[in-house]
C-alpha cells in the first residue's frame, strides 16, 4: 500500500513539458541571463588572469590566463547549476509552489526532479558555451578539441545540479544555502585546481581534492583547451557520472520523504 521512498527512479519523457516550462520562463529574461553568463568569465579571466598572470611565470607549460580558462569553464558551469538547483529550485518547490501545480497533473515527483536536474544542466551548458566563446574571443585557445568542453559543461551541470538538489530537498529556507556555498562550493573551488595546480596543496588536501568532482572536471577541461587529449578521461567521466547518479537518487529519496508524506 505505502509507496517506498527508496524505490528506484521511474524515468519517462514526461520531464519534457516541465523542462519547456523552465525554458519559457528563461526566454523572458534571456538577454540579461546571457550577458551574465558572458560577464562572469570575462571579469574573472581579465581580472585574475591579467593581474596574477603578469606576476606568475608560465603555469604547467601554458600562460596563466589559459591555465585559468580551464578552471573557469568548470567553475562557472558548477556555479550555474548550483544556483539554479538551489535558489531557483527552492523557489519553484516552495515559494512559488510551481511543483505543487505540476504534481496535480499526470506527472510524478520523479519527473519533476529529473526536469530540475536537466534544466539546471542546461543552464550550465549555456554558461560553458559562454566561457568558451570568451576564451576564443580572447584568442586563448585555437583547437577544435576545445569544443569538447561543451559536453563537459553539460556533465558538470548534471553533477552539480544533482548534488545541489540534495541541499534543496533538505533546506528549510534560502538561508540554508549559504552553508552549502561557504562549506562546499568555495572549498571545492580552492581545492580542485581552478586557480592554481593541485600539486601546490599539502598531500592530505591533494587526497581530498582527488575525490571531489570538480577536480575531475578540471582535469578534463584543461588539456582540451591546450589541444591535448586528457589522460584518464574515462575515469574522470565515470566519477562525474557517479556523483550525478548518486545525487539524483539521494535527492529524489529526500524529496519523496519531504513532499509525498
Amino acid at each position: 500500500m505505502r509507496m517506498n521512498p527508496f524505490a528506484p527512479p521511474r524515468l519517462s519523457l514526461r520531464f519534457v513539458p516541465i523542462w519547456r516550462r523552465h525554458f519559457l520562463v528563461w526566454k523572458k529574461v534571456a538577454a540579461t541571463s546571457i550577458l551574465g553568463h558572458l560577464a562572469d568569465p570575462v571579469i574573472y579571466m581579465l581580472g585574475l588572469g591579467y593581474g596574477l598572470g603578469s606576476l606568475l611565470p608560465q603555469m604547467e607549460g601554458t600562460s596563466y590566463l589559459l591555465f585559468l580558462a580551464g578552471g573557469t569553464v568548470c567553475y562557472s558551469t558548477m556555479n550555474s547549476a548550483s544556483f539554479e538547483a538551489l535558489y531557483s529550485g527552492f523557489s519553484r518547490m516552495h515559494e512559488q509552489r510551481t511543483w505543487d501545480a505540476i504534481l496535480n497533473t499526470p506527472v510524478t515527483l520523479d519527473d519533476v526532479v529529473l526536469a530540475e536536474i536537466l534544466w539546471s544542466a542546461s543552464k550550465s551548458l549555456m554558461a560553458g558555451a559562454a566561457v568558451l566563446l570568451v576564451i576564443w574571443l580572447l584568442g586563448l585557445s585555437h583547437t577544435w578539441l576545445s569544443l569538447w568542453t561543451i559536453p563537459l559543461a553539460l556533465l558538470v551541470g548534471l553533477c552539480f545540479a544533482s548534488l545541489g538538489l540534495i541541499i534543496t530537498a533538505l533546506a528549510p529556507s534560502y538561508d540554508f544555502f549559504m552553508y552549502y556555498f561557504t562549506l562546499v562550493i568555495t572549498p571545492m573551488m580552492l581545492l580542485c585546481g581552478v586557480f592554481f595546480p593541485v600539486t601546490q596543496l599539502p598531500p592530505v588536501l591533494q587526497t581530498v581534492s582527488a575525490i571531489l568532482p570538480l577536480s575531475h572536471a578540471v582535469d578534463i577541461a584543461r588539456p582540451l583547451l591546450n589541444g591535448a587529449l586528457p589522460s584518464h578521461a574515462v575515469l574522470h567521466v565515470a566519477v562525474l557520472l557517479g556523483y550525478t547518479l548518486a545525487g539524483f537518487y539521494v535527492s529524489l529519496v529526500l524529496f519523496r520523504r519531504r513532499l509525498s508524506r
Binding site: 513539458p17 519547456r20 520562463v25 499526470p106
Partner: protein
C-alpha cells in the same frame, strides 16, 4: 450509479496526530460533493490522499477505477484540481499559463490552443488573455485557476476552497460556473467554509472534524436530522440573563454566544410572543440552515 471516487477507512497521521481518522467516502459520477470542516479538520489532506499526492497510513482508495496511490498518475489524466493556494506561474501570461499546463497532460500545443478561447470565455478572462498574473485581481486568479483545471476536459474536478477570499460578485460567478460543470455531468469534490455555498451547490456533503467524518448526507437531510426546523436568534446586552431565566422554557435547545442566544424550536410562536413583550431584546426568526448543523456538530469554540 458508478462510484468515481471511493475511500474506505482512510488514515493519515502527522507527528503522531491523526489528521485523517477512518474517513470513508463514496462519490458517484455527476455528483457535487462537499467536504466541510473547521480549519485543520483534514479537508486538504483528504483531497491530497485521494489524488495520490501523499501516502495514506491505511485505507483503500480508488479514483476513476485506478488504485491510488499506485496508479494515481493514470487517474489524474482525467482529473482537474483547483488548489487551496493559487500557484499560477507568475512569469507567464494568462494564456501561457493554460498552454504550459495543458502540456503536462501530454496535450499537443494545437489541441490546447484550440481550447484556450473557450476556457477564457468560461473564466470571463477573454480581455485578459495576455495579462501577466501579478496584474490580476484575486477573483480573476481564482477563475484562471479554475480554467486551468479544465484544460484537459476532466471528468472529476477537485476544488479546495474555490471561493475563499472572494467578494460576493466573484463568488456568485464561480458558483454559476460550478453549476454549469455539474450540468455537463462533471463530478465535483469541493471543500468550503461557506455553509451557504455548500447548501446551494452540493448534492451531498460530509462534515469533518479533527480528522473524523461526523456526518454525511444531503444538506436537507442533515438539517432535518440534526436540528430543530426553526431558529430564533435573540440579541442584546441582557441576553445572558434572559436566556438563563427564560430560554429553556420556550426553546427545545439553546446556546448563548456572547450577546446572542440561538434558540432552536419546532414551533416559534410562543417564543416570539414572549419576545414581543420584552422590548429590550431584538430578535431574528429564520429557518434552520446548514451552519446551525455545523455549529451544533463541531461546537462554537475556535479549533486552532
Amino acid at each position: 450509479m458508478s462510484a468515481v471516487i471511493s475511500a474506505q477507512n482512510l488514515h493519515k497521521s502527522y507527528a503522531g496526530q491523526e489528521v485523517v481518522n477512518g474517513v470513508s467516502i463514496t462519490i458517484h459520477k455527476g455528483e457535487c460533493y462537499g467536504l466541510l470542516g473547521p480549519n485543520g479538520a483534514g479537508k486538504t489532506t483528504t483531497l491530497r490522499l485521494l489524488l495520490g499526492l501523499i501516502d495514506p497510513d491505511g485505507g483503500e482508495l480508488r479514483l476513476l477505477d485506478h488504485a491510488v496511490p499506485r496508479h494515481a498518475r493514470e487517474a489524474r489524466l482525467r482529473v482537474g484540481v483547483v488548489p487551496q493556494m493559487d500557484n499560477l506561474d507568475p512569469d507567464f501570461s494568462v494564456a501561457e499559463n493554460l498552454l504550459v499546463y495543458g502540456r503536462y497532460f501530454g496535450m499537443k500545443d494545437s489541441e490546447i490552443e484550440a481550447r484556450i478561447p473557450a476556457l477564457l470565455e468560461f473564466a470571463n478572462l477573454i480581455h485578459k488573455r495576455d495579462a501577466k498574473i501579478p496584474t490580476l485581481s484575486g477573483g480573476m486568479k481564482r477563475r484562471l485557476t479554475l480554467a486551468r483545471a479544465l484544460v484537459n476536459d476532466p471528468e472529476i474536478i477537485f476544488l479546495d476552497e474555490p471561493t475563499t477570499g472572494l467578494d460576493p460578485q466573484a463568488r456568485h460567478l464561480i458558483w454559476q460556473r460550478l453549476r454549469e460543470l455539474t450540468a455537463q455531468g462533471k463530478t465535483l469534490l469541493l471543500t468550503t467554509h461557506f455553509m451557504d455555498e455548500a447548501e446551494r451547490l452540493c448534492h451531498r456533503l460530509a462534515i469533518l472534524d479533527q480528522g473524523r467524518m461526523i456526518a454525511q448526507d444531503t444538506p436537507q437531510a442533515l438539517i432535518a436530522q440534526h436540528i430543530e426546523p426553526q431558529v430564533v436568534e435573540v440579541f442584546g446586552e441582557r441576553v445572558p440573563q434572559w436566556a438563563q431565566q427564560h430560554a429553556a422554557q420556550y426553546a427545545q435547545r439553546f446556546e448563548v454566544s456572547g450577546e446572542t442566544a440561538f434558540c432552536y424550536v419546532s414551533d416559534a410562536q410562543p417564543l416570539l410572543a414572549h419576545l414581543r413583550g420584552h422590548g429590550a431584546l431584538r430578535y431574528l426568526h429564520r429557518p434552520a440552515n446548514l451552519e446551525d448543523v455545523f455549529l451544533k456538530l463541531t461546537g462554537r469554540e475556535m479549533r486552532e
